[in-house]
């Protein structure tokens, strides 16, 4: 299901003395089955955009298209419930939303809320708990007896149990240690590939965006200012600096190396693995020539 924002503007507390404009004519196109990253520094409007992706907020101006449904400023749409069922949002610190007595009930809550039978919801819980890399036996425990990393996986399982077509991730690795961060990001990447999901990652990690995303949108001061593939966007250091963003560490390193070599490597590398291969190739060439 494609998601599109057309010239979307949004103001918080509209029509009150506290009105505050957060988005200005944002255009965004997220294609079905792609991994899309939305990047921007704090206050760039990316969280406000996120809340439009499943109609938690409705635009003050402009149109949000989610699949065949249109959400327009000033118009009522009665099908929001169905729309939301297809779009799972993993909020920052999702473990704060756990509340049930057992992990099983917590995971089943979402699907049952949308009319799935208890039997089916429990069956889904058994399935998704494995998907997130936890053991079945955890289903009978209280979610509050788990470690932070386990709680986060349970919260993610709760989103997966809704069988969404689209998953929106809001800084999903905030507060995790490097190993936890890596595991969670790999989990989402695998899910996206195995189930052909549309994945939307809202992040300020250039490294994650470079490694995982097919497409990027850069937000700055409430506007969508840049869109393209990571390799295109990350080659322009000066342009990113205008939006108070930096290139990923691996790209900065490649540029520093190229400056020292006085020549460019064959391509811009977006991951450490890629760059190591490229350096090995270049070094081999030098050896053969001498």
């Amino acid at each position: 299901m494609d998601i599109e924002l057309q010239k979307v503007s949004y103001s918080y507390a509209k029509g009150t003395p506290f009105e505050k404009a957060a988005l200005f004519g944002v255009d965004l196109m997220i294609e079905s089955g792609k991994y899309h990253a939305i990047i921007g520094h704090t206050g760039s409007g990316k969280s406000t955009v996120l809340q439009h992706l499943n109609a938690l907020l409705k635009p003050s101006e402009g149109i949000v298209k989610i699949g065949d449904e249109m959400i327009e400023a000033g118009k009522k749409n009665k099908k929001l419930r169905q729309v939301r069922q297809h779009i799972g949002i993993v909020f920052q610190f999702p473990e704060h939303q756990l509340f049930e007595e057992t992990v099983l009930k917590d995971i089943a809550f979402g699907p049952m809320n949308f009319g799935v039978s208890e039997e089916e919801a429990y069956a889904r819980a058994h399935e998704v708990i494995k998907t997130v890399g936890l053991d079945d036996s955890i289903l009978q425990k209280s979610p509050f007896d788990l470690s932070g990393g386990q709680m986060r996986r349970v919260a993610i399982a709760g989103v997966l149990a809704m069988k969404p077509d689209v998953i929106v991730l809001d800084e999903p690795t905030a507060g995790l240690d490097p190993r936890g961060r890596h595991n969670i990001m790999e989990l989402f990447s695998k899910l996206q590939k195995d189930h052909n999901l549309t994945m939307i990652l809202v992040t300020h990690s250039m490294e994650d965006a470079a490694r995982y995303a097919d497409d990027l949108t850069i937000m700055h001061d409430g506007k969508s200012v840049l869109r393209g593939m990571p390799r295109e966007i990350f080659k322009d250091v000066d342009k990113l600096a205008q939006y108070r963003l930096k290139v990923p560490h691996v790209v900065a390193f490649q540029m520093r190396l190229e400056q020292r070599l006085g020549s460019k490597l064959a391509k811009l590398c977006l991951t450490e693995e890629d760059l190591v291969d490229e350096i090995a190739r270049a070094a081999k060439k030098v050896r053969e020539e001498s």
Partner: protein, 281 residues
């Protein structure tokens, strides 16, 4: 050198009545001396935040003791000790009480009965120290993450603490916000000789410290200067952390059969070593 803080054989469990549950902190001892920047690193659940809570008396250990500024911590002197410990937490949004930046910084001073004139001066001074004096009357919730944490630091500084504790204070910030906070902490240390204890799993932050304490499963796994800790290499990765970028790259390059000599503590150093060993004609 004066000892600011000493922890002696600390043992702590969240489940005292359940002996089968592992202790969160297992026999940890260390000392922080005046003017030092010490970083406590470790994976999630390694016990580092528990240690922070023990240091400021939010938790009491089942065994072992904490000495702060030469005073053995107990329930009677806890409140006076706390005024000398400035603490900044992970989530900037959870620690604001004031409607404006200056109210917020003044809050702890008011609680401690600081006279009004002195209070105003201290609020201005500590906000100037974190370069937020322009924002006196702003609402905290409208600041960026980095700005919020700088205000939180100002709130801690206003009490003129002997020790500033940063409990994962940069982990929720974007890269720019993190840089702002670290620059401020570094400057404070240079200007005022402030003693800093930072709890983090960001090794790029830990590399700034004078000394690193590396926690694993409640125990002190290693202690030393950043270069000594990073020399542990793969062990760091196995215990849930990561190597700084340049060291990780160097390791991957060597595994690919690329020749590299020397140390690789920074990107500059690695580029230079790569150039000398492989490209220089």
């Amino acid at each position: 050198m004066n000892n600011i803080l000493t922890l002696n054989n600390i043992i702590f469990s969240y489940e005292v009545d359940q002996p089968e549950v592992k202790n969160a902190v297992e026999d940890v001892s260390f000392t922080v001396t005046e003017g030092e920047w010490i970083a406590i690193v470790g994976h999630n659940g390694s016990g580092k935040s528990t240690i922070a809570r023990i240091i400021n008396g939010l938790l009491f250990p089942q065994s072992g003791d904490v000495t702060v500024f030469g005073k053995l911590m107990n329930e009677d002197n806890l409140w006076s000790i706390r005024t000398e410990l400035g603490m900044v937490f992970q989530n900037p949004d959870n620690q604001f009480v004031g409607a404006t930046v200056q109210d917020d910084v003044a809050f702890a001073l008011e609680n401690n009965g600081v006279p009004y004139e002195d209070m105003v001066a201290r609020v201005h001074q500590s906000l100037a120290q974190v370069k937020m004096e322009q924002f006196l009357n702003h609402e905290p919730q409208h600041l960026s993450g980095g700005q919020k944490q700088r205000v939180a630091i100002a709130g801690a500084l206003a009490l003129r603490p002997k020790l500033l504790i940063l409990d994962e204070a940069t982990s929720m910030l974007d890269p720019q916000g993190r840089q702002e906070v670290l620059d401020i902490v570094r400057k404070l240390r240079d200007d005022t000789g402030l003693t800093v204890l930072s709890i983090t799993h960001d090794l790029e932050e830990a590399i700034l410290a004078d000394r690193i304490l590396f926690m694993n499963q409640g125990r002190k796994f290693a202690e030393g200067q950043p270069s000594e800790i990073f020399a542990l290499g793969d062990e760091l990765v196995e215990l849930g952390l990561d190597l700084p970028f340049s060291m990780k790259m160097a390791k991957m390059l060597q595994e690919k059969g690329i020749q590299l000599d020397g140390t690789h503590m920074s990107d500059e150093e690695l580029v230079e070593n790569l150039w000398i060993s492989n490209f220089k004609k």
